[in-house]
Assembly symmetry: C2
Homo-oligomer: 341 residues x 2
DNA sequence: TTTAGCACTCAATAAGCATGAGTGCTAACA
DNA sequence: TGTTAGCACTCATGCTTATTGAGTGCTAAA
């Protein structure tokens, strides 16, 4: 629907605006090497593009700024593949060269690198591994009344909780219970656990039901409720953006980012592949001036987490998308090789 | 050295400025009920106080603002005991009524409450419990080449790390090693661990030295190197302060707060009791416009961690000090009752 | 010693004006 | 018919100037 020339001009405007943060005028565009038209011609085209909703004018005598629709067209049709520099590629390689790290830790570093490479805020989620299987249960008494219950999954995740011991329970009894649980529940996949717990073990536990209720509940919780872990890095990068030099504009954003439980809503597990949400397209009011780009990473082909970038609508979409793809791919490869062998 | 009247006036000025954030003039002070002098008299006194370095004037025709020295005098001599409201006390009580929480978790909630009650940024450190004793070691193999090593201390702290297994090692061998370690090292206090590790066990390990080196190193690390945990809450509260409505002013502060490893320098384990560092007294440039109030909490009389508040120099010192004292006391009581029985 | 009175200072606000980047439109040109 | 030169017009920005008012310092009288 847009002529080639219109696309070319739109592309030039978005490009320019992304780097200058200033409304761009017709003369600026006509001076570009790849454009062979006078400013007057550009003006006409710009006028048309504005009428079509791809551009906006802050005020009559200012240049044009891309609208949400304009960015959307740019992202969907005009974006050109971005090549990373040597140094950038190096950092990525280095990250995935690390062995001997929990999946969680790799993900944490990923957030760090992501923010460093893009200069935007990185939000990384996961990994939420659905096929968690129980590997080991341990209860370590600390004193007469307290103990730590520990659960290890086959992915190497460790959860622990302080629990109150029933009065007068002996080390032997605890050991018996632990052995029982380990014997019956090892390698049981998560989704069967609740069922198994009550089915197979309730008999043996008839005597103690009341006492061990809490332990069982923890077991159930720590394996059932996937505690999603969100890593946030570079939240303050937004302060470098000229359009956010006003405290009131950033306050809502930073407050949102500060609430970790809200972050899930921000990068929300939407599509599995690459998703770009631009400005007004975002649900949350606080970030209607921002764009969010996310993609998922996977384990054995199954998406288990997300990496995302939050920046101004005037974002370097091309670069961010490239970096995200690299990272998601690297993460997936790493996770898969770690757990699927 | 300051006359009673001077102190009274200084007190009134600081009080007023803390609540208004505007330079305070002589008339404002003379109108206060507790002051029975005309504005002219106040002016003379203010002039003297400025000469003595307790007050500053943003410009000739503005009111006065307390200097760092002025705040210092206020904090050291003039501050009046602050009474907390019912609702505030309730929140504190509720926090410490929780049982069945790791020390770490209580500390985390403490940061939350602290920030909520004061409307400033809360930084909480610790608890760094020096008398860590080893309670249990566990190695859970995940597959042929990887395992999770878990260490539980007598305080209920759980550390874990993914480790590579030497090729061809069997479950039996691992179990033997774990039993050996548990047998020899349980209840060994931290500070003896390194020594014992090499002294008592090196013999048994002669055969495997190379293979188990990594495991031992982790053991050593996770118990020796006290990983200090810092909890930060309400970092964005600073954005509510009128003197920080400028992005450039807050940027350095927020960036500092974002680096968790820097936070130690911010609230740094200085004195054990209540410490107030006002404006220029701070080492870090980024927070020379801020004040930091910290106090320590203890376990059995021995300081093990810190609670702190970061806010503008124009801070409600009285209230913050009261809240901090309450929290430190509550934390200490809780920790002590939890571990010293 | 205190205070009323007054001249003085200076940030903040508003108003007026020039500047210039940018537009839209029209008419001429290829 | 598409392109462009030219020109009038708009409007944010920045500068200058005047006005206001909160606040001071100083002096002289109580």
């Amino acid at each position: 629907m847009l002529s080639d020339r219109q696309q070319m001009i739109l592309n030039a405007i978005v490009d320019n605006y992304i780097h200058s943060a200033e409304p761009v005028g017709s003369r600026t565009i006509s001076k570009r090497e790849d454009i062979g038209f006078s400013s007057a011609t550009i003006r006409n085209e710009m006028s048309d593009l504005e009428e079509l909703g791809y551009l906006e004018q802050p005020h009559t005598s200012a240049g044009r700024v891309p609208s949400t629709k304009g960015y959307r067209f740019y992202v969907d049709n005009l974006i050109q593949p971005h090549l990373l520099e040597e140094a950038e590629l190096g950092k990525l390689k280095q990250l995935f060269a690390e062995r001997i790290l929990h999946a969680e830790q790799v993900v944490e570093y990923t957030a760090q690198i992501l923010s460093q490479l893009t200069n935007y805020t990185a939000i990384v989620l996961g990994p939420e591994i659905f096929e968690h299987r129980l590997k080991h249960i341990q209860i370590v008494p600390l004193n007469a009344s307290q103990a730590v219950a520990i659960v290890v999954t086959h992915t190497g995740r460790v959860e622990n909780k302080l629990i109150d011991l029933p009065e007068g329970i002996g080390a032997g009894e605890i050991e018996r219970l632990v052995n029982l649980l380990n014997g019956k529940l090892t390698d049981v996949p998560l989704w069967q656990l609740r069922q198994r717990l009550y089915q197979e073990i309730s008999g043996e536990m008839q005597r103690h039901t009341e006492q061990y209720e809490e332990i069982l509940q923890f077991l159930n919780n720590s394996l059932t409720q996937e505690e999603e872990r969100v890593y946030l890095r570079g939240a303050t990068k937004i302060l470098n953006q000229p359009e956010f030099r006003d405290v009131d504009k950033v306050k809502d954003i930073l407050e949102l980012l500060e609430q970790h439980d809200q972050l899930l809503n921000v990068i929300g597990m939407q599509g599995d592949g690459l998703t770009v949400r631009i400005g007004q397209e975002n649900q949350l009011d606080a970030i209607k001036q921002c764009s969010i780009i996310t993609t998922s990473y996977s384990l054995g082909g199954k998406p288990v987490g997300m990496v995302g970038i939050l920046g101004p609508t005037r974002m370097e979409y091309g670069k961010v998308i490239t970096v995200l793809n690299h990272l998601a791919e690297g993460l997936s490869r790493m996770l898969t090789s770690q757990f699927e062998k």
